[in-house]
């Protein structure tokens, strides 16, 4: 396994008057093909960390390396290109575009990348079949259930063959049954395509199914647990609740 992401002393401070340290010198290495979950109380900096990794936000200090490239100071255009090529996003809300049907939504990252319409379409159809929506290709978001829309969002996140898929509470809005379905789907895709998944979740049951759990409190990683077989081995003092 090789390092896909290397984060060094990453710091994010918000606010001009009263300073708010959202990330406090975080060091983190993520391996290729890993399924990582990040847990922690609300406001602990989970989204902030994901947005840094996802190149949506820039740190106050520290460095982010992606596939051996220091992307901390990449230009906006380069960041956009990397988001398109290397990253897939799934958010708590599906953020599908309401005017576009399922296939068209999934095609979008490919069209932005300049892939030909026909090819993009075929890829989108394949992915929607993969996520079990082969019979819902031409439905718009308002014609689909919450779980179905989130599955479309998963397909969209995977469309551009990203090396990393980021999920910020991807099942936060779904019932348990839909959540499990989404998680099983992500796991299956991870096995098939060896993509790296970084998931923020409140759902400990789901976290315990991943390869590694990070616990964030007040912008620091306070606990890290790694799966070894069926057991999680704690590397630090952990209070998981």
């Amino acid at each position: 396994m090789s390092k896909i992401i290397d984060i060094k002393k990453l710091r994010k401070v918000y606010g001009d008057g009263v300073e708010l340290v959202a990330l406090d010198d975080v060091d983190l290495t993520i391996e290729e093909g890993e399924v990582l979950s990040i847990v922690g109380p609300s406001g602990s900096g989970k989204s902030t960390l994901l947005n840094m990794i996802g190149l949506l936000d820039t740190p106050t200090s520290g460095e982010i390396w992606l596939k051996g490239q220091n992307i901390t100071k990449a230009t906006p255009a380069e960041r956009a290109r990397l988001r398109n090529k290397e990253l897939g996003f799934i958010f708590q809300f599906h953020h599908l575009l309401p005017e576009f049907n399922a296939v068209e939504n999934v095609m979008m990252p490919l069209l932005i990348a300049g892939v030909e319409r026909k090819e993009a379409r075929q890829r989108a159809i394949d992915l929607l079949e993969e996520v079990g929506l082969g019979d819902r290709l031409n439905n718009r978001p308002n014609q689909l259930s919450g779980g179905q829309n989130q599955r479309v969002a998963v397909a969209r996140a995977l469309a551009g063959h990203p090396s990393i898929v980021i999920g910020d509470e991807p099942t936060g809005n779904l019932d348990t049954k839909s959540s499990d379905m989404i998680y099983e789907l992500l796991r299956k895709l991870n096995r098939e395509m060896n993509q790296t998944f970084i998931l923020v979740t409140h759902d400990m049951a789901m976290a315990e199914k991943t390869d590694r759990i990070l616990r964030l409190v007040d912008g620091r990683i306070v606990c890290e647990m790694r799966r070894e077989g069926d057991e999680f081995v704690s590397h630090d003092l952990c209070h998981l609740d």
Binding site: L56, A77, A80, R83, F91, H95, L97, E99, R156
Partner: protein
Amino acid sequence: MFELYAARKHLTARRRQTLLAVGAVALAVTITILFRSLINGFEGTINDIIFQFVPHVTVLPKDGESRIYLYKTLLDAVWTIPGVTAASPALSTAASLSYGGKVENVVLRGVVPDELNKISRIGLDYMVEGDLDSIEIGRRVALDREMAERLDLKLGDTVRASFPDARTLNLVVTGIFDTGGFSTNYAYVSMKTARDFLGEGSVITEVQIKLDDIYRADEVAASLRELGYNAESWQSQSGIVESIQSRRLSNTMIMLLVIIISAFGIANIMNLLVLEKTREIGMMMAMGATSSIIRRIFLIEAGVLGLAGGTAGCLIGYGIAAYVNSLAIALSSGPGFSIYLNFVVDPRDLLIFPLVTLLLSVAAGVYPAHQASKLDPVVALRG
């Protein structure tokens, strides 16, 4: 191209808003096109009237003189000017016409009917009774129908013409014309009759000139002034130029106003669109859309709205103009002419307006598109 695709999707999926925006621009353009073509029509009609009734250039006596002497020499000079199509000499004087106890003041004009007809076609198109040529016999008069009615004159009656210092003459009415009010006060007699009336020799008071190009009148008048005569063009005489120019100005103001209003409409629609689409813009950015892609999506949308609105407005405006013209609604008429409600659509407008609305809409879209492109994806996604 992704931008085109996304813009098209937005526009076709939000059909109601799109139609509303296109409709607003189209309405503005329709109104402007109709206004402009109506004014074009009026100008055309006015030019026609000028062409039919008003001499393009009038030559008057030299300063300090009340008559033009040696007028044959003047006429020869006039005919050497290129573009002159008619030159009608006249000896005009004020006169009182009396008949059966009624008296009216007129301008009594000694003319050569053949020459006058080339200026105003009175003897050709506007006679309602009798004719103009018969005044050549002498002691005959042709006058306007309204004047004849005021004096209770009928064809064949004898009217008395008099004026201080003039010889009183009895004139037989041999022609009645109707120009719809353009020459009510004119009474035409032969050149000889006018000279007898005034006791003058071979003199005239004016030469009326027609040109093949009415807009050369000023230039021709100037060259006649160089010969020492007073000469006036229709432009300097009638105040028509000022009225056309002021109409042109108000025309431009209306256009400007209408266009600004529709540009505001587009800017407003684009602002709302960007607000409404904030999360989706954030998502597009997360998917790798650059600021310039986002900007172009909205610029394209604004441009398409403007172009579609402008084109639709032109078609509708043109259609209404053609339809109204086909109804031939008469505003005023006389025996030889009618003024119709006439829209003259300038074909250049049909090209210019879609272009103008395209450019204006894109300009109106610049700020909202810029706002969209500058969104922070993290903030945008949070909504």
